[in-house]
């Protein structure tokens, strides 16, 4: 626990430094840069790229969460059970489609910029959230759901007061997976001119500058690890309160 906390603080400090003071890392990245070439990406500030990257992921994940949870609620009602296989198929397709293909297909419709990336991330995020929410909603402790009916909660009250709160931890696991997938996947959005940290990595690949690749990759990786960790802590807190 204690080493975990120390490690976490070190990683946060490292991330902040990489985003806010990239120049500090010149000596470290220099060996990877081409001779005489730039070591640190200068065309945009790391801060603005990071914010835009996180913004795109947040927006896409929020939309995916809303749609996937709504869909999960729908198909776990008696009236919607018939749609469960169909909705499974649809969300699964969203996941099997390569993100690059989604980008390529979305560009003609949405043009260059953040649009195609948002669509790809949204489709990618649906499945884990939907699957987890359905599992959570269909495996609630029977005595509890029966008691909820038994004391006279209406359908809506049962959903809002008992089913959704109890399904929250497992659903959060799905949201966490979807966010982490999104953080990584968003980098390729820069191929169609979305402003993400992928810009740094791609610039590095195009100019044969490993220093750029390292810089961008490190920041994305650190965001992913820290956000993952924060969400795990949140889930632990929620399940802990309910006694597992």
């Amino acid at each position: 626990m204690k080493t975990g906390r120390i490690l976490r603080s070190v990683l946060i400090a490292l991330l902040l430094a990489l985003v806010l003071r990239p120049d500090w890392f010149v000596p470290i990245f220099a060996p990877f840069a081409p001779d005489g070439g730039p070591v640190i990406y200068q065309r945009a500030s790391m801060l603005s790229l990071s914010l835009s990257h996180l913004g795109i992921v947040t927006l896409a994940s929020a939309a995916a969460t809303i749609v996937a949870v709504a869909l999960a609620i729908l198909v776990t009602r008696p009236a919607g059970a018939a749609f469960r296989p169909l909705s499974r198929t649809i969300t699964n397709m969203g996941q099997t489609f390569p993100p690059v293909a989604v980008l390529a297909l979305a560009v003609p419709a949405l043009g260059f910029g953040a649009g195609p990336t948002l669509v790809a991330l949204f489709l990618y995020g649906l499945l884990p959230i939907f699957e987890n929410a359905v599992t959570a909603l269909t495996s609630l402790p029977r005595a509890t759901t029966q008691a909820a009916r038994g004391i006279g909660l209406s359908r809506l009250q049962r959903l809002l007061r008992v089913e959704l709160p109890l399904a929250l931890p497992v659903t959060l696991t799905g949201i966490r997976l979807s966010i982490v997938i999104g953080l990584g996947t968003a980098t390729i959005g820069s191929t169609v001119a979305a402003r993400t940290l992928g810009e740094v990595i791609i610039a590095g690949l195009l100019t044969n500058n490993t220093a750029y690749v390292l810089q961008g990759g490190l920041i994305v990786g650190l965001f992913a690890v820290l956000i993952y960790d924060a969400l795990v802590q949140l889930e632990l807190y929620l399940t802990g309160r309910m006694g597992g």
Binding site: A147, A148, R149, R241, G243, G244
Partner: protein, 311 residues
């Protein structure tokens, strides 16, 4: 009054409850007993429409339950589910206050009621109010489940093995408390148990279920005196255990100093004989004799204590 009119529940090809009819008087306790799988829970759950009967009808004070929206019907009927079914994400206080909250009681009134019920079930309100169900023992969870059913003081209470997880001492006390509450409020209680002893001590009427059928429905005395079938006789057999036990203990073991009126009993007689003599002659104590001379007395209270100690 609750009238259960030829109610049947079929699962696949099996009748879990098979054409059961009974009438429950307002303000009485009815204990439903039977072996596991005999349809007790199913019968109880058809009364508040957690299960819809395949055929038949339940009327409460003349009104068919099928004419009321199920969730509104259930708010008026207290229900303690088998295995407590507490809400794991709510505190003990919120669990107990769930129905009053639905009925829009004021916050103060709910809090007061929660504390009152916790105290009634020997759980210190200050200590337990804010705990989560996972932080309670099995017996405490079960008591909170019963408290939740009682919270809104419903006229009708359905309880499915409410005392199953309690140790004998707390169980006896909880039974007494329930009987006390029932007498005070005049509520109608239908209680499921597979313990004939509990059924006989708590019930004004006992309903014995076997394989989905109601095989006997009668006051406890009649169930004991005139069991309708071998199955009922077998179930009652268990109740005699304390009597059998008493027949193994002699009066000499519980003689105490003191006087008693009437005919004496030799100290070699069994406690069962002593009990019998007490009941027969309507006395609370008998003189105990050794070779014809009085050496002390044996009291009904001591006999009872002895019988209870081994239960």
């Amino acid at each position: 009054m609750i009238e259960i009119d030829s109610i049947t529940k079929t699962y696949g090809t099996m009748n879990a409850v098979d054409a059961v009819s009974m009438r429950v008087e307002t303000g009485s306790i009815t204990a439903i007993v039977g072996t596991s799988g005999s349809g007790k829970t199913t019968l109880l759950r058809m009364i508040n429409r957690l299960e819809e009967p395949t055929s038949g009808e339940v009327r409460i004070n003349g009104t068919s339950t099928s004419s009321v929206k199920p969730h509104l019907l259930r708010r008026r009927i207290g229900y303690a589910i088998q295995g407590h079914g507490l809400f794991p994400h709510h505190t003990v206080a919120r669990n107990i206050g769930a129905v009053p909250e639905l009925l829009k009681w004021s916050r103060d009134k709910i809090n007061e009621r929660v504390d009152e019920l916790l105290a009634l079930f020997s759980m210190d309100p200050a200590e337990f109010r804010d705990r989560f169900p996972a932080e309670l023992s099995g017996g405490q969870q079960q008591r909170v489940g019963v408290a939740r059913a009682l919270a809104s003081r419903p006229d009708l209470l359905l309880m499915d093995e409410p005392f199953g997880a309690l140790d004998p001492i707390i169980r006896t006390r909880a039974q007494k408390d329930l009987a006390h509450i029932q007498r005070k409020l005049g509520s109608t209680i239908m209680l499921v148990t597979h313990d004939m002893e509990e059924a006989i001590s708590l019930g004004d009427h006992v309903a014995v279920m076997d394989g989905g059928k109601l095989v006997q429905y009668a006051p406890p005395a009649e169930i004991i005196a005139r069991p309708a079938t071998d199955f009922v006789a077998n179930m009652v057999g268990d109740v005699e255990r304390p009597l059998r036990l008493l027949s193994l203990i002699s009066v000499s073991e519980i003689i105490e100093a003191g006087e008693a009126d009437g005919e004496g009993l030799p100290e070699t007689a069994s406690l069962r004989d002593a009990l019998s003599a007490c009941l027969w002659s309507g006395r609370d104590a008998l003189p105990a004799t050794r070779e014809g001379a009085v050496v002390g007395r044996v009291t009904l209270k001591a006999i009872r204590a002895r019988a209870g100690a081994h239960l």
